[in-house]
């Protein structure tokens, strides 16, 4: 955990000064003078070395970045170098004055990698840890920190199918590590474990580090199984003694793209659909190009022992569908102050985020695609005006005017997130540091929902309905660590870390819904709703809290920068574990060695094989699962007479079976990898192979209802399932990443980075624990109409997780009837798998003078998707003609399918894709203003094109089933594109960044 950068810098400075002195002593008649500037910021670079190539003659730049160097005959090329920048060679020619712009050496800046509870030199890292810097982030209108990393880190899968600005991202590291709610990596924001991502705006991020393997994540114990993402925000100015003001402002245009083709009104009628006499493009009615606006402003500075950064980030994001969007205001203040000669350091990080969002009923996307194209949007009949507010509606099953649906129902949310964090560090001795951090993360959401009196779907039956609810989360963490570093010998360095932590989490909320309004007053006046019990109403509240205590320690050894060893352990006691299993212990060990320090490795300047092993855990999704808490049963009127009320009681029923043995999930991960650098760091990269075994997964298993409960001796099961630790999963993968730093001719520089992952898909080794468990778990039916009963995802022991099963379509009869291999679900065949065989990202950065161009491809291969639109709406049977039909490239047309839609192999499509995910063209405008540091304009585009054979909305990997709200089975049914998926969007962004100094 030593940062060698400062030492190196002072050493370099000394050498430079010495060389400078020598150079001055040998002054000759001809000389060259010049200025060395930072290419990006335009600031002078003091202390840079200017050498005549092939000699030891040279000088250093002064505080203004200027130098003068005497020349001798035959001097042809100058070499300019400085720590943190790439060396640059310049032809001298006849010039007597010269300006050199040094490019930052990104690789070199990456040297320090943030790990849990500290940072470590990259060369000392012995586990799979990846750091990503802002230069590598995704471009365009990025609103969520996760999106910055999409496709950038091998093994880190980040997806958001469809283009809704309100949806979050599904984040998976190295595939599935749990069935449960915690399938996303743990976020650690400036040391605050489990902080909400809402707390940080992408613009304020200085670096993101991903702890990929079990060994690295094990320091986070029972929360580390899904990996850990460490986010560090900017805390100081870019240069000592200066103040920077940064303003970044952009406008984004979103357009809908890749809409599924449907029949025209004429074609629809020709096929036998009811003709209502109009011709409506329903998606056109719903969609509009959308403009979004973003402005980020920050002030930062560094003065001696004081550092600060303050920012305001405002984002107004509008979706392509009117009524979908959000407005976000994020403010941040990071302060650091040293005292007692900087032995005592105080850090304060404050952030506050407010997000106001609005949304529509997702079913509008489905109806916009399949609603009758001959129907008009409005209808001028008395009945339509009185009942539906003028919208065209018909009493048909599953048939709602999408425009009315989008306008007559409303869903809003106001989320306020505040994170306060205080950390004090005190150097008891120069090499012994005590630190303590307290943080409080609060997230309060107030939501409203509204169904108009004239909303055909819900509102008319309910005679208007409205809802208000809150969800509040509070997490408090206190952690303290003691860190000791010492040289045990002149070659062996040791760093020890010990600490403990206390974490308290509270969740609470209430919900109120009423119905029967006279006016559409919505959630602002629930009292106007006449009916407050029964259907479409609710009054309820909930609260829970838990506590997690931890103790942890870590030791790191560095022998002569050649051998590196790290070992750690964390013990965690969680109130939500069963009484019989309250404390889990999570050890880790890793070792690595840089072979270039031992052998002559030729072109390699680094070749560090490393091996690691770590155990991590996962917590139960709710703290009271072990207890079998009694919930509210029916309200029973004991005498059956509604007029007497004193004998009405709410039953208390135990709807879950207690499990006193309930504990954490365990993941054991073994990782072997090599970090390498070639040609003096021109090419860098790493290769990793991992295998992971996950056991004791938390799962709600069917048990013999009514039988004695083995996990709560002496009592009986009152529910048909119990939360139990069971199942074993095995997964493996191979990851590769390599970057080439600035190759090219003349002023044109190209820096490509390629990463890819090949997954050995998760295999289910067992789904049991003793007699409890399953041989097979089936999930996810296609849905209504008519496909409610046969699940299509089979999770079978010995097979891959998430296999898609169904009958094979062996063709069509002449009359267009399916010829299916079977109708017996037990004879269904494996038709595919929704999880990818591999994923890749290919980033390119091109620089040419003031211009820069970044473009980034990413993709996934070997995954299948069930195309629900085809699965329900391409058939030509009479029953299907209520709805419009989709006509994709894969839709049979001769003959048309005349059977009722039934799931089969033809609807499972290979969804491998390559996407030009984002690109950005930027121009740095040259400025000589004393106040203007830099001025940059850029044009960015997102989702420009996708190459795929998939004919649905979006070939993106679906790790979860969007229609399965149960967090514990949703991950067991990947690979389904549901019909309510938001349309894909393509975005164009025009922005400007100004830096004042």
């Amino acid at each position: 955990m030593r940062n060698y950068l400062p030492k190196l810098k002072s050493l370099m400075l000394a050498v430079v000064l010495m060389i400078g002195t020598i150079a001055v002593a040998n002054a000759q008649s001809r000389s060259i003078s010049g200025t060395v500037l930072d290419a990006r910021l335009g600031d002078p670079v003091p202390g840079a070395t200017v050498l005549v190539k092939g000699t030891t003659r040279g000088t250093a730049t002064d505080l203004d970045g200027k130098f003068t160097l005497p020349l001798q005959a035959g001097d042809q090329v100058l070499v300019i170098s400085f720590v943190g920048y790439l060396n640059q060679e310049v032809e001298i020619g006849n010039q007597s004055s010269i300006t050199i712009r040094l490019e930052e050496d990104i690789q070199s800046l990456e040297e320090a990698v943030v790990i849990g509870y500290g940072s470590q030199d990259k060369k000392e890292i012995t586990s799979a840890v990846v750091g990503v810097k802002p230069e590598d982030f995704n471009r365009g209108n990025v609103t969520n920190p996760a999106q910055l990393l999409q496709g950038k880190v091998a093994g880190l899968s980040i997806t958001r199918p469809g283009g809704s600005p309100n949806s979050g991202f599904n984040v998976r590291l190295r595939g599935l590590s749990t069935f449960g709610a915690n399938s996303s990596p743990l976020i650690v924001l400036d040391g605050v474990i489990g902080a909400s991502l809402e707390n940080v705006d992408p613009n304020d991020i200085q670096s993101i580090d991903v702890l990929k393997d079990g060994s690295a994540a094990a320091i986070y114990g029972a929360r580390g199984s899904s990996g850990v993402i460490l986010i560090t925000t900017t805390k100081k100015g870019s240069k000592e003694g200066t103040t920077n003001v940064n303003i970044n402002s952009f406008t984004t245009l979103d357009q809908a793209t890749n809409l599924i083709p449907v029949l025209s009104a004429e074609e629809f009628v020709a096929r036998g659909g009811t003709d209502f006499g109009s011709d409506t493009d329903w998606r056109d009615e719903l969609i509009d190009d959308a403009l979004s606006f973003t402005t980020n402003a920050s002030v930062s500075g560094s003065f001696g022992n004081s550092n600060y950064m303050a920012s305001v980030n405002y984002r107004d994001n509008n979706g392509i569908v009117n009524g979908v969007g959000n407005e976000r205001l994020n403010t941040r203040l990071n302060l650091a102050q040293g005292a007692l000669n900087n032995r005592l350091r105080l850090n304060v990080n404050l952030s506050f985020t407010n997000v106001d969002s609005e949304d529509i009923n997702g079913a509008a996307f489905r109806y916009a695609t399949i609603y009758n194209p001959t129907a008009p949007v409005f209808e001028d009949t008395e009945s339509a005006i009185n009942r539906f507010g003028g919208y065209f509606q018909r009493d048909l099953f599953d048939f709602y005017n999408p425009v009315a649906l989008a306008r007559q129902q409303k869903f809003i949310g106001e989320t306020k997130t505040a994170l306060v964090s205080y950390r004090a560090e005190f150097d008891i001795l120069p090499n012994l540091t005590l630190s303590a951090q307290y943080s409080q993360d609060r997230r309060n959401t107030l939501s409203g929902a509204f169904w108009s009196l004239q909303d055909f779907q819900v509102g008319i039956g309910a005679t208007g309905s409205a809802q208000r609810n809150t969800f509040d989360r509070k997490q408090r963490i206190f952690e303290s660590t003691l860190r000791y570093e010492t040289d045990l010998s002149d070659k062996l360095n040791m760093t020890l870390l010990g600490g403990f932590g206390l974490q308290y989490t509270t969740n609470q909320g209430f919900n109120a819904r009423v119905r029967q309004y006279l006016f559409d007053l919505g959630w602002n006046n629930l009292g106007a709703g006449a009916i407050r019990v029964g259907n479409n109403t609710d009054v309820s509240s909930f609260a829970n809290q838990d506590q997690l205590n931890s103790a942890f320690g870590r030791a790191n050894f560095n022998w002569d920068n050649t051998f590196f060893v790290s070992a750690s352990v964390r013990a965690e006691t969680y109130s939500g574990f069963g009484a019989n299993n309250q404390t889990g212990v999570f050890p880790a060990f890793s070792v690595g060695s840089d072979f270039t320090q031992i052998f002559d490795m030729g072109v390699f300047n680094q070749f560090k094989p490393r091996v690691s092993y770590g155990v991590t855990g996962n917590l139960p999704p709710s703290p009271t699962l072990a207890l079998g808490v009694f919930g509210n049963g029916n309200r029973i009127d004991l005498d059956g007479d509604p007029l007497t009320q004193s004998d009405i009681f709410v039953g208390i029923n135990q709807f879950s079976n207690p499990n006193k043995d309930l504990k954490w999930e365990t993941k054991k991960e073994f990782n072997v990898g090599v970090d390498f650098g070639l040609l003096n760091g021109k090419i860098t990269g790493s290769v990793d192979y991992y295998t992971r075994n996950i056991s004791d997964l938390l799962f709600n298993v069917p048990v013999a209802a009514g039988a004695p409960n083995p996990f709560d001796p002496g009592r009986f099961n009152t529910a048909g399932s119990t939360w139990v630790n069971l199942a074993d999963l095995r997964a493996a993968g191979f990851e590769f990443v390599t970057s080439v730093n600035q190759i090219g001719k003349g002023a044109l520089k190209w820096s490509p980075t390629v990463n890819f992952t090949i997954y050995d898909k998760t295999t289910i080794e067992s789904l049991s624990n003793g007699e409890l468990g399953f041989e097979e778990l089936r999930f996810a039916t296609p849905g209504a109409p008519g496909q409610n009963n046969n699940p299509i995802i089979y999770n079978r022991v010995g097979q891959n997780l998430g296999d898609i099963y169904g009958p094979r379509l062996n063709g069509l009869t002449e009359s267009g009837q399916y010829i299916l291999s079977t109708t017996d679900p037990n004879e269904f065949e494996k038709l595919g798998n929704g999880l990818p065989k591999g994923e890749f990202g290919f980033a390119n950065s091109l620089m040419w003078g003031q211009w820069n161009l970044n473009f980034f491809f990413r993709g996934a291969w070997g995954h299948d998707l069930y195309n629900s639109y085809r699965g329900f709406y391409e058939n030509g049977d009479p029953g299907s003609n209520t709805w419009n039909s989709v006509i994709t490239d894969k839709t049979p047309t001769n003959p048309l399918v005349t059977s009722s839609p039934t799931f089969n192999s033809s609807y499972v499509e290979d969804a491998s894709f390559v996407r030009l995910d984002n690109m950005e063209l930027g121009y740095n405008i040259k400025t000589n203003s004393p106040n203007l540091g830099s001025l940059r304009v850029y044009l960015a585009a997102q989702n420009l094109f996708t190459i795929t054979n998939y004919t649905g909305i979006d070939p993106e990997v679906r790790t979860n089933d969007s229609e399965n709200g149960d967090a514990f089975t949703s991950a067991l049914s990947p690979g389904i594109e549901r019909r309510n998926t938001y349309f894909q969007t393509r975005s164009f962004t025009l922005g400007v960044t100004v830096n004042f100094k």
Binding site: S480, G498, I636, L772
Partner: protein, 486 residues
């Protein structure tokens, strides 16, 4: 080292607090005077639930009988063929509705057993709970037969099957041992002495099916005990027993006290009505157009039989009197778009007409009804007790007694009295009286008609007289043996 000191403290046991519910300990420590009543309500709360919903005990009992079917309309109601199989008697052990029904019953058994363990000393509560548990076992013995007997004394691992005769004995003993301790009340929503007698009458009626040994005399005696109690009488209006406000019925003996707001689960309007019927009854939600009666069953009613109003047939209107038009009516449907419920159903699957089939209209659909009804569901009613007496007497060769009883039922339905009575006539009368009250399946079995062919169903094998033990339950409890034939 300071952190180490804390570390040792940090990993001590943590108590999990519960903020929004109670634990078994909280209940045990409560001295609230209402506790016993709350516990009682808790047990009944388990019984009221989804008994009368789709995929429930009611569903499997009705759709497997010749009273009702769920025709498949194109993709709608295909649902993996479950309801077609249910009608054709080709169901398998994996049908979702079997597992739902089983889990519903045994979760209630578990809850009641836990209460019995926790409160062994509250005698009145215990007696009531044990008879309530026996009620649950009556559903289990009838549907699944050889089910495990789990009571408060059961210990050890996975329970094993008992024979149907053993289950019968357990139910009989549970009722008889506790009947004296039960209250004398005549409340319809909780168990009392007369409820227990009525349960015995129902149990003995099927003793022959359950054990191989009929108990007709016992059935008659139990029915007589109820009749002679004088607590019940036939409602002059048959439909008063099924109306929205039927809690005043003099005829209902034991009901599930459904309440659309507080005790939901009786979803009949959704299950049987056409989508457009939402406008007839101003329903809060659009119905699903599923359950319909069979034409032959509908035709078993004389046109003058008041009970024929148990069906919705003919042209359908919105609540404001306008004719309902189903623009999506099938092109080949002779009745065309104006919505008309026809007793005839063109086919069971795959393309039944959307408006085909008489709908279940026996339970009043109040204007503005929600997806759950307020109507209390009669599990046992006096009319059935009279029919039990009639059948028990007839089978004991006492036709006069039987005739007297059955003619009470016919008179109330405005039907002429029988002068002679055959078993087939009694079977048909029972069918007409008890439509949609989940007794048809047991009746068909008891009268030997279960395996015969009827509309869209061929003759089925004898083992179909028992439903299979749900496959999910066997998976969860390998000690369970499947019923023979499956």
């Amino acid at each position: 080292m300071l952190p180490l000191v804390f570390a040792i403290g940090a990993c001590q046991e943590l108590e999990q607090e519960v903020l929004d519910g109670v634990t078994a300990e909280d209940i045990a420590n409560s001295n609230n005077p209402n506790l016993v009543n709350v516990l009682k309500a808790s047990a009944y709360s388990r019984i009221v639930g989804s008994w009368g919903g789709h995929n429930s005990i009611w569903s499997i009992q009705e759709v497997s009988s010749d009273e009702m079917a769920i025709p498949q309309k194109g993709a709608d109601w295909e649902d993996g063929g479950q309801w077609i199989r249910m009608h054709k008697h080709t169901w398998n052990a994996s049908e979702e509705s079997f597992n739902n029904s089983w889990a519903y019953c045994y979760s209630a058994v578990g809850e009641i057993n836990n209460l019995l363990i926790q409160y062994p000393d509250v005698a009145s509560l215990n007696a009531e709970l044990k008879v309530l548990r026996a009620l649950v076992y009556m559903w289990l013995i009838d549907s699944f037969g050889n089910v495990p007997i789990i009571d408060e004394t059961t210990t050890g691992g996975n329970p094993t099957n008992a024979t149907r005769a053993e289950v019968f004995a357990f139910i009989e003993k549970s009722i008889k041992d506790n009947i004296a301790l039960l209250p004398e009340t005549s409340l319809k929503s909780t168990i009392n002495k007369m409820t227990a007698q009525a349960m015995l009458a129902k149990l003995y009626l099927n003793a022959g099916v359950y054990t191989g040994t009929p108990k007709w005399a016992e059935a008659e005696a139990a029915a007589d005990a109820v009749i002679n109690s004088g607590k019940y009488s036939l409602s002059s209006n048959y439909f008063a027993n099924f109306s929205e406000r039927n809690s005043g019925s003099t005829e209902n003996i034991l009901t599930l006290p459904y309440d659309q707001n507080n005790a939901g689960g009786f979803n009949l309007p959704q299950m049987t009505l056409h989508y457009l019927s939402q406008q007839t009854f101003n329903l809060q939600e659009q119905p699903w157009n599923g359950y319909a009666s069979l034409e032959e069953f509908y035709n078993s009613y004389d046109a003058t039989d008041v009970r024929r109003r148990s069906f919705l047939v003919g042209p359908q209107f919105a609540s404001n009197g306008t004719r309902l038009i189903d623009i999506s009516a099938e092109a080949n449907d002779p009745d065309g778009p104006p919505l008309t419920f026809t007793p005839q159903i063109n086919m069971l699957a795959p393309n039944a007409f959307r408006q085909a089939g008489a709908r279940v209209g026996k339970f009043e659909f109040a204007l503005g009804a929600g997806s759950s009804l307020n109507n209390d569901y009669p599990l046992i009613r006096y009319g059935e007790i009279i029919l039990i007496k009639a059948e028990a007497a007839l089978r004991q060769n006492k036709p006069a007694v039987a005739l007297a009883a059955v003619n009470q039922i016919r008179a109330r339905a405005s039907m002429p009295a029988y002068t002679t009575l055959t078993l087939d006539e009694l079977f048909a009368e029972r069918g007409r009286e008890m439509f949609a009250e989940a007794t048809r399946r047991s009746d068909q079995i008891r009268f030997g008609k279960w395996n015969q062919p009827w509309w869209e169903k061929t003759a089925s094998q004898p083992f179909r007289a028992l439903f299979p033990i749900p496959q999910n339950q066997i998976n969860a409890n390998p000690a369970l043996k499947q019923n023979p034939g499956y």
